[in-house]
Each structure stands twice: as structure tokens, then as C-alpha cells.
């Protein structure tokens, strides 16, 4: 699903690489937590998967494709198979819940009939049935994140990237979001999630990859957030 082969990423005008000779493999169907302090390289890792950045050295494989050989015009096709969720939700404030989710399908040219069929389905999966016509500012933070997850999942991606999805939410709401991501994972989607939330990681007992200063320093199946701290 994802393979990093001694990947180094050095941003221009910086002396220390954001990732240095990082190697990692994530299998189909896994649920992986990416942990580590700010600046450890988590976001760079996710940006490389989305092909928003190219590695300085090494190879990144995603969904069986070597991203260094992927031509620019094929990037959209790759991203259609990857869902993305962010800490700040990134919803369109002037569109309703339904329209926000439908937007993701409209812009890849899906016909209206399909949109009208799959959007209610995915809203039901994330537990937002009945709130189709609400605007984002009428929703709680947890509900907004559910809209974002619905939008990321509506195209049934093989891979879901979540960059600190619970970073803006209170613990109770976070649990709900984690249950939802777990459910999506059980539906067959690989989930890679970066987080600072120790409680969640410790509860879920899934694979944990820890980054520090651009290096993979720990990789545990059924791991916890950190050692004694």
C-alpha cells in the first residue's frame, strides 16, 4: 500500500532534512498511528504520500505506483484513491453538508445521479443523516470533522490519510471520530493517522510508528503512544 525506501526530504533553504533515510512499509488494510513531536517529519511523510512533495532521495511507492515516476497529469488519478482529513476540517463555509460532500464528486466529474445516491449513503456511515442541509458553522467541531471524513470517504478510497484529525476536538468527541475511522478501516480502507493524542493511541492498540528528527525510531504493532514519560 505504502512503501518508503530510504527516503530523504530536504526542503530548500534548510540544512536539516525533514525526513532522513526513512524506510517503512504499510500493508493493505492496516491502521497506523504516526506519532512524534512537532517537526519530527509526520507532515512531510503524509505530503510525500499525497505527492504534494517529491523526495530529495529514495523512492516512495503508493498504491503500487512509484511516485517519482508518476507524471504530473496522473497525480489527480492517484489522489482520487486517497482520502484526506485534516485538523482544521477544510470545509466550504458557504455550502451545506450535502454540498460539501457532493463537491468532492462534482469536481471529478461524477454524474448527478450517482452523487444523489452515494452522498446520503456516506452521510449515514458518518452519522450525519438528517443534517444534510446544515451549514458548517451550524455544526459542532466533531460534526464538522464527520463531514470532512464523509467527503474523504465518499469516493471509497483505498487509503485514508488523517493529519491530526482530533487535534481540535475535545476527548469525548475524539473518541467518536476514532470509532468512525476504525469503522472505515474495517470496511477495508487503509488508515494512516498522525496524532499527538496519547490517550487515543493507547486505547486503540494499533500499529504505532514514531518519528523523531526525520528518523523512524520505533515501529510497533499494537503499540502505545510513548514509553514512560
Amino acid at each position: 500500500m505504502i512503501l518508503f525506501d530510504t527516503v530523504t526530504k530536504l526542503y530548500p533553504n534548510q540544512t536539516r532534512p525533514a525526513l532522513e533515510e526513512a524506510s517503512l512499509e504499510i500493508e493493505k488494510g492496516e491502521f497506523v498511528f504516526l506519532v512524534g513531536p512537532s517537526g519530527s517529519g509526520k507532515s512531510t511523510f503524509l505530503r510525500l504520500v499525497l505527492r504534494e512533495e517529491r523526495p530529495t532521495a529514495g523512492n516512495v511507492w503508493v498504491l503500487g505506483k512509484d511516485l517519482s515516476r508518476l507524471s504530473n497529469w496522473k497525480i489527480p488519478t492517484l489522489r482520487r484513491e486517497i482520502g484526506t482529513v485534516f485538523q482544521d476540517f477544510r470545509l466550504l463555509p458557504n455550502k451545506s453538508v450535502f454540498e460539501n460532500v457532493a463537491f468532492a464528486l462534482e469536481v471529478i466529474g461524477k454524474p448527478k445521479a450517482i452523487i444523489n445516491k452515494v452522498v446520503p449513503e456516506v452521510l449515514e456511515v458518518v452519522g450525519l443523516e438528517g443534517k444534510e442541509e446544515r451549514r458548517p458553522d451550524e455544526l459542532s467541531g466533531g460534526e464538522q470533522q464527520r463531514v470532512a471524513i464523509a467527503r474523504a470517504f465518499v469516493n471509497r478510497p483505498k487509503l485514508l490519510i488523517a493529519d491530526e484529525p482530533t487535534g481540535n476536538l475535545d476527548p469525548g468527541t475524539s473518541v467518536g471520530i476514532m470509532k468512525l475511522l476504525d469503522r472505515i478501516n474495517r470496511l477495508g480502507t487503509t488508515v494512516v493517522m498522525s496524532t499527538h493524542d496519547a490517550q487515543i493511541v493507547d486505547q486503540m492498540r494499533r500499529r504505532v510508528v514514531e518519528l523523531e528528527n526525520g528518523h523512524v525510531v520505533r515501529d510497533q504493532s499494537r503499540g502505545v503512544y510513548g514509553y514512560a514519560r
Binding site: P76, R79, T84, F103, V107, A152
Partner: protein
């Protein structure tokens, strides 16, 4: 590609950015109107050249009584001199196409006709007007051959090329055309800069949408097309206004004001306007489209 989605995005974009859209429309309209006028002036010069070069002739004025140029020192032209000049003109065929002799009597009659209703007509008598040969050249640019052969000869007062008078006028029109063209080019550069800036603002104000579009895998075409169409639509509206301005220039300034006052010459027809209109629309939409495309490539990268 869902046309309805793209169309509504274009409409939203134009409305949201109304002041910039209006600015683009106005600059496009003004610059293209000037551009069109300069093309129209050039067409006018061509029309007048066609019209006049057919009619211009070289006039060889012969000495009359009282002519004071040195070659007329011997008084009025003698019949022998006149016959010799005629024979020499005949020998210049085929460059010389037609030769027409105008006697003093004919010159006087024409003068009276031209200055009828004017007191000048009464102040001139027949013997003061020179007789002349009116020569039509096969190639009007070969005037020098005739001039060098005849000017300064005894019995000839002056050799006149009507084309030289016309050329001064054409140079004036050419100058006006150049000025209009320069202003048009400057305005077009301003237009391009304005389109670049408009696109930058539009891309920035919609970075949320475009960011999401990139993430969910919308193709570049889908992301950029609404912007490109916005640029093309506002430029197209400006170009249509410019065509309207050109139609007014032809219909009112030329047909209603200039043509009745200057009936002796030909003016450009509607075919010239018809030929210029598509050029204006293509230049407007093309320039703005290219400017938008190059800007977007920088601001809406994958």
C-alpha cells in the same frame, strides 16, 4: 466534465470579483477600440490609395505670358516647343499611359467651374492660366523619370506630381495610425497585467476550494477551467464593446460626419469593419486567456 458545475463556478467567480471583472472589461474595451481604430485608419489609407493612385497624374505646366521661372525667360511657350514636348512624352510610352493636352481655354473653363461662387473666378483672365499636358503614368511611382526629363526645359514652367501632395496626407494618416497603435499596445500591456493580477486575486480568494479540489483529485483542467473561462468571458465582453465602438466610429464618425463633408474621396466600407471585428475578439480573448493560463500555472500547481 459537468458543464453546469463549471458554468456556475464561472458565474460565482465573476460576481464575487466584480470590480476586477469590470476593470478587465473596460481596459479590454478601450485598448481594443484603439487597436481597431488604428486598423481602420490603415484600411482607410489603403482605400484612399486605391482610389487616388488611379486618378493622379503628372501635370506639365507650360509657360504662359508673365511666368517668372528661369525656364520661361523666352516668354510664353512656342508651338514648336509644345510639339517637341508632346513628341518626347510619346517616346516615353509605355511608362506614359495617357497624354491629355489642356489648352488655356480649357484651363480657364475648369478654373471658372472650380471657383464658381467665389470672387477669385472674376479676377483671373484666360491668358494668365498656363496650358498643360496631363500625363497618366502606368506606374505612378516612376514620377522621377518624367520629372528629370522635363523640368527646367525651356517652355516648361513646372512639373507637378499630384501623388506628392497625397503622400503628405497619407503620411499624416499613417502618423495618426501609429499613435493609435502605440496607445493600443500600451493599453494591451496594461490589460495583460490587470488580467494577471485579477487571476492572482481570484486564485487566492478561492484557495480553499482549489485546495480541496486538488486533494480529492480534480484534474488541472477542472480546477483551472473556471478561471480561464472567467478571463475569457470578461475579455470577450470587452471585445464586443470594442466592436460596438468600431461600429459607432464607422456608422457615425465616418458615414455621418466625414463622408458628407469630404465627398471627393472614398471611405472604408463595412467590409473593413467586418474584417477587423474577429481580429479584435481573437486578440482580446487570446491575450487574456494566455495571460490567465500562465498566471494560473504558477498559482494553481498540482
Amino acid at each position: 466534465m459537468r458543464a453546469q458545475f463549471v458554468a456556475s463556478e464561472v458565474g460565482n467567480g465573476l460576481r464575487r470579483n466584480l470590480t476586477m471583472t469590470l476593470a478587465v472589461i473596460i481596459t479590454v474595451a478601450v485598448s481594443l477600440t484603439l487597436f481597431g481604430v488604428s486598423l481602420l485608419v490603415r484600411a482607410q489609407v489603403d482605400t484612399m490609395k486605391d482610389f487616388w493612385y488611379d486618378k493622379v497624374e503628372v501635370s506639365i505646366f507650360l509657360c504662359a505670358k508673365g511666368s517668372d521661372t528661369p525656364s520661361c525667360a523666352g516668354g510664353a511657350v512656342t508651338p514648336a516647343q509644345r510639339d517637341q514636348i508632346k513628341a518626347d512624352l510619346e517616346s516615353l510610352r509605355p511608362l506614359v499611359q495617357d497624354i491629355y493636352y489642356e489648352s488655356q481655354g480649357e484651363a480657364y473653363a475648369r478654373f471658372q467651374e472650380q471657383f464658381a461662387n467665389s470672387p477669385i473666378a472674376d479676377s483671373v483672365n484666360e491668358s494668365a492660366l498656363p496650358e498643360s499636358f496631363r500625363v497618366k503614368l502606368a506606374d505612378p511611382t516612376q514620377y522621377d523619370v518624367v520629372a528629370s526629363a522635363f523640368s527646367g526645359r525651356p517652355g516648361i514652367e513646372q512639373v507637378n506630381d499630384q501623388r506628392q501632395v497625397l503622400d503628405k496626407f497619407f503620411r499624416l494618416l499613417g502618423g495618426l495610425q501609429a499613435i493609435a497603435l502605440i496607445i493600443a499596445v500600451v493599453m494591451l500591456i496594461v490589460t495583460v497585467l490587470l488580467v494577471v493580477n485579477t487571476m492572482r486575486v481570484a486564485a487566492f480568494s478561492r484557495r480553499r476550494e482549489t485546495g480541496i479540489m486538488r486533494l480529492v483529485g480534480a484534474s488541472n483542467l477542472y480546477i483551472q477551467l473556471p478561471f480561464l473561462l472567467e478571463a475569457a468571458v470578461s475579455a470577450g465582453i470587452g471585445a464586443i464593446l470594442a466592436v460596438g465602438g468600431l461600429i459607432l466610429a464607422k456608422g457615425i464618425v465616418i458615414d455621418q460626419i466625414l463622408a458628407p463633408s469630404f465627398q471627393f474621396t472614398a471611405f472604408v466600407g463595412w467590409d473593413a469593419v467586418l474584417g477587423i471585428a474577429p481580429i479584435l475578439i481573437l486578440v482580446g480573448i487570446g491575450l487574456s486567456g494566455i495571460a490567465a493560463f500562465l498566471t494560473l500555472r504558477k498559482y494553481l500547481r498540482v
